[in-house]
Symmetry: C2
Subunit: 328 residues, 2 copies
């Protein structure tokens, strides 16, 4: 199809041009086209993070469209910037793809990147990147952000007496992944395209949370200005990430499962939620979008207690010990 060429039949310049046409206008001092981007950091600090989506362990092309992948690769990085109490300002996108990738795939990915930024972090734009050939489709996104004159909110500041709170959904993305594995594979385990017709509203929501997540990016800055003592992204399951926050702060987090909605098991151990976990002094009103799920107490043997007990369920997701290619 000459209408939709393979990237291997195009020059790097042509591919770049097609991508740049899809992205919003640069807001940087120096945007795409030079050796590097130059971004304003008015308060003398920049927040920076990188996260990679890899074909196989992180996504399947039967389940995720190019648009979904662009969206998700932006969203998960925007969430990490938010988790410092910062506002995302720019993405750099390193795209490595097989040379039989269609140009429409690349432009779909660019559309997803742009729309995720516009929707979740208005003002944030793709300001640079890199194109490479690879046997494995890989999207590494670097996100940069600014703090607005405030200090970053770390994982280590939670104090006994603080309220534990979250913004964003817990559990849906993990349920969505389980749904994909349970319902959208052939008999031999191969992923097959999603037919949403047979899904009820809750299942569709779970699938959306997995494939096109909407982390509460703006709640990061609200947490910082609302006095958060600690803040982090919940990406590997609430219990595991709460343990990390508790360990960094030298406290114990006591979580009340009745505050976790109708499916507390998924909320506790789901993974890929990209919710924000925060602690606030009990004297402060919770910022918009946050809800209380527990309290910070003096450090005990356990870093996290659920309803006063050790959590016995699955703790969360480790990409090295948990991923099994044979699963499909």
């Amino acid at each position: 199809m000459t209408d939709d060429p393979r990237v291997g039949d195009l020059g790097e310049g042509q591919i770049l041009q097609a991508i740049l046409a899809r992205l919003g206008e640069s807001r940087a001092e120096v945007g795409p086209g030079d050796d590097a981007a130059v971004l304003a950091t008015p308060d003398g600090a920049v927040v920076a993070t990188v996260d990679t989506l890899v074909h196989g362990p992180d996504f399947r092309l039967a389940w995720s469209s190019a648009y979904d992948l662009g969206w998700k690769s932006a969203a998960v990085n925007l969430a990490d910037i938010a988790a410092m109490g910062a506002r995302p300002t720019a993405l750099l996108v390193a795209l490595a793809m097989p040379d039989d990738t269609r140009l429409s795939f690349v432009t779909g990915l660019a559309d997803g990147l742009r729309d995720a930024c516009d929707s979740l972090a208005p003002g944030c734009v793709v300001e640079g990147g890199d194109l490479t050939v690879s046997d494995t489709l890989t999207i590494a996104v670097t996100a940069l952000g600014v703090l607005g004159g405030r200090p970053a909110v770390l994982r280590s500041g939670a104090r006994p007496g603080d309220v534990v709170a979250v913004a964003g959904d817990l559990g849906a993305a993990g349920r969505g992944l389980a749904l994909l594995f349970a319902r959208f594979r052939s008999d031999d385990g191969t992923p097959v395209p999603v037919d949403a017709d047979g899904l009820d509203r809750g299942e569709r929501r779970d699938l959306d949370a997995q494939l096109r997540p909407e982390p509460p990016v703006r709640a990061g800055e609200r947490a910082a200005s609302g006095g958060a003592t600690a803040l982090m992204d919940v990406s590997d399951g609430l219990v595991l990430d709460a343990t990390r926050l508790a360990d960094a702060s030298g406290v114990t987090l006591a979580i009340d499962s009745s505050s976790l909605g109708g499916d507390p098991a998924s909320a506790l151990s789901g993974g890929e939620d990209h919710a924000l976990l925060a602690t606030f002094p009990s004297s402060r009103a919770l910022p918009d979008g946050f809800r209380a799920i527990g309290a910070v107490v003096e450090r005990m043997a356990e870093a996290v207690l659920v309803d006063g007990h050790t959590h016995e369920g699955r703790g969360g997701w480790d990409p090295y010990s948990d991923w099994d290619a044979a699963r499909g």
Copy 2:
């Protein structure tokens, strides 16, 4: 070998710990361990770039050690920061690797990253990153830098009458790649390990330039403070990159091949040099490390002239149209 476990048999935390032990001490306001790094940008601007090395198109494990790969993945990104007239301050490293990768490979890579920073850009440290499983070993490095109060030096500022100058080697890295393809493949084209015993001193130097490049990173800041009107990294061959600078500036670059050393053909079209190409007002003395190779003239039909003529040789390297997996 339990002495050298596969990363697939370790948890993410164990791999991270082994990497962090190899890297220099963080110099960031917030270094590795939180959701994102926070870096100081004293003059209110940050320079940011990303470049990816992919197993296959960008390197072969028969030819490059883990240390070489760490070194090169840092070096090529440090060069892009230098090419803005900036000083590199931090790297973020997104590492995607097969789960049968040995831990010693990961630590070797970390050693190479650290030593390249220490040698080429003292003060620059790996301040964050990401680990993922992938069928294809992929190293995406984001480099960040600061401008020291000066404006960035773009590709677009060259003016007729300026001197064209370069810092760093031109041609050796391309010759080194040709040497690998010519001498270190088996009969069926498979790369075989390099035996340096049969190489003369010049060939060893070429190989080093290809596998462990030493771009003149500190010359970037010297160019900026020395009045450079335009500056860029030469990564795809001098003629191709000079064309880009000429087009961005709306001028023609007239290059004198007698200034290009003993192998002008390689210097003009080599690729992966990571030299710095700059233009300076003729009234200024060239900063340390730069040598004149020509002059900027009013724009003509050709963007680049070599000894007054159109360059007829190979122009440079395009990762999409030039890469052929079947080559070996």
